[in-house]
Amino acid sequence: MISLRTDLPWSGDSASRFIPWLVAIMVFLGTLAVSGVAVFDTILSGWSKAVTGTVTVQIPALPADSEQEANQARTDRAVKALKDLPSVEGVRVLANTEIDALLAPWLGERAAASDLPLPDLIDVTLVDGSTATIEALRSAVTTVVHDAIIDDHRLWFEHLIDLTEGFRLLTIGVALIVTTALALTIVYATRASLAEFKEVISVLHLTGARDAYVATQFAKRTLSAAFKGSAGGLVAGAFALFAIGLLARNVESGFLPDIGLSLGFWVLPPLVSLFAATLATVTAFITVLSTLRSMV
């Protein structure tokens, strides 16, 4: 057990009084941010941009007055481009009768035989374990047929993944900002206390104290204040996570990966508190040393 005996008049010091509150708020925010990163990581590892199975490519029909051969050429170009992709196993153009069968519920029998400009449909079968994305397929096809359309559903999902990755980066940014803000505020508070204790510190120096002796007293004081604060922030953060976990349970299962149950996840808040207390203590120590040294 370290001794918290001090030679400095902390009870009369206003600058250090808010350190427990500061650390509590930072631990709370830090806990949320770090947990957010963990949640997004879990979600993203459950989701994959890679396309599996089959994808349907539509080649829209040209205006009715254009030639039949032109439509056929467009489809052939798309088929060739798709076949050239290493991730594509097979390509099959749907026959008119198959299209009729697909459209029958909406347009009635023999729709394909009518004058309606129906698109050609290409079924693309992908190689097992392929990592190709919809974007890759799309760019391959649209270079040869600029208005080809691919499976919007998959694309929407890809955008969702991008968005989630964006949120993940954002929460990492928030965690970094909270860390910086904590360190900077400790630097400021420590400097203010040093100014307030100027006379006492001068007596300590004149009686033979090293800078490290003064710095250690600041570090001990900051450590005990930060521990109080981080305990509070930890409790508040854990409560918030628990509440969010309950809300997330109501989201249709399967869409969101199961989070909040793993042990690893609940280790994060105590780690954040420990980190915050250590950061505050080390920052105070270094600030005292460098400030005293610059006083000469």
């Binding site: 030679d7 008049p9 009870s11 009369g12 006379e199 006492v200 007596v203 300590l204 120096h205 004149l206 009686t207 033979g208 104290a209 090293r210 800078d211 002796y213 040294r293 000469v296």
Partner: protein, 252 residues
């Protein structure tokens, strides 16, 4: 008082030496001008002069709170004129300073104030307890160990300041008007403490403008006037036997 045993100074080196020292504060003229001085190990001196003569300034040069504008300061054979910041603690642990305004820490008890030089040097707590307790009873403050300085009289504060200055067995004791706030009887008792420490080998310099006090002892005098030393000490060590005489037969 066997706890006070300063290490020996090597033969032939002055304990305190000033070479051509001048001091000028930011603005004005020289407060001290071209001082030369060499005090042998174990000496005892009064530093006298009217108020404003520069006694406190001279002591500040010696405890390195002030650097000279010119010249050099040597302590125990080492040039400390331009001592690096990190070497100051080791030098200051060989010094005991009684500040004119005491500079007690108001939020600490009498015990903790006196313990300060030992604590900053990381002395073990049991040793701190026995040394501080013994010293406080010597200066007659054993009933005030847990009191805060605010409740003490001027004379009591002065005794706390002296106890703090000598608790770490310093080789050089610099006392700035150490008997300024106490009555005659206590002044004589405090002087006896300094004499005891001097017998054990500490160099003593007592700044005072109390001529009566100076006259009671036969210690040589460093007299400051017009920013110069007008009375220089003989470069010889006055033996303990001679100084005993001075206390036992005080003049009135």
């Amino acid at each position: 008082m066997q706890i006070f045993k300063p290490p020996e100074t090597p033969d032939g080196t002055a304990a305190v030496e000033l070479k051509n020292v001048s001091l000028r504060y930011d603005d004005g003229s020289d407060v001290l001008s071209a001082l030369n001085l060499a005090l042998p190990p174990g000496s005892f001196h009064f530093l006298t002069g009217p108020s404003g003569a520069g006694k406190t300034s001279l002591l500040k040069l010696l405890y390195l709170a002030q650097r000279p504008t010119m010249g050099s300061v040597h302590l125990f054979g080492t040039d400390v004129t331009a001592a690096a910041r990190r070497s100051l603690p080791a030098i200051r642990r060989k010094l005991g300073v009684v500040f004119q305004d005491f500079r007690l820490l108001q939020h600490l008890s009498v015990f903790d104030n006196v313990a300060l030089p030992l604590r900053v040097a990381a002395a073990p707590e049991p040793e701190i307890k026995s040394n501080v307790t013994e010293l406080l009873s010597w200066v007659g403050l054993d009933n005030f160990m847990n009191a805060k300085p605010a409740v003490l009289s001027g004379g009591q504060k002065q005794r706390v300041a002296i106890a703090r200055a000598v608790v770490n067995r310093p080789r050089l004791i610099l006392a700035d008007e150490p008997t300024g706030s106490v009555d005659d009887a206590i002044a004589m008792r405090l002087m006896q403490l300094f004499i005891e420490l001097n017998k054990l080998g500490s160099n003593i310099i007592i700044a005072t403008h109390n001529e009566q006090l100076v006259a009671r002892f036969e210690y040589s005098r460093l007299a400051l006037a017009d920013s110069a030393l007008t009375e220089l000490p003989p470069l010889s060590y006055r033996s303990a036997a001679e100084s005993d005489q001075a206390i036992n037969e005080p003049q009135t």
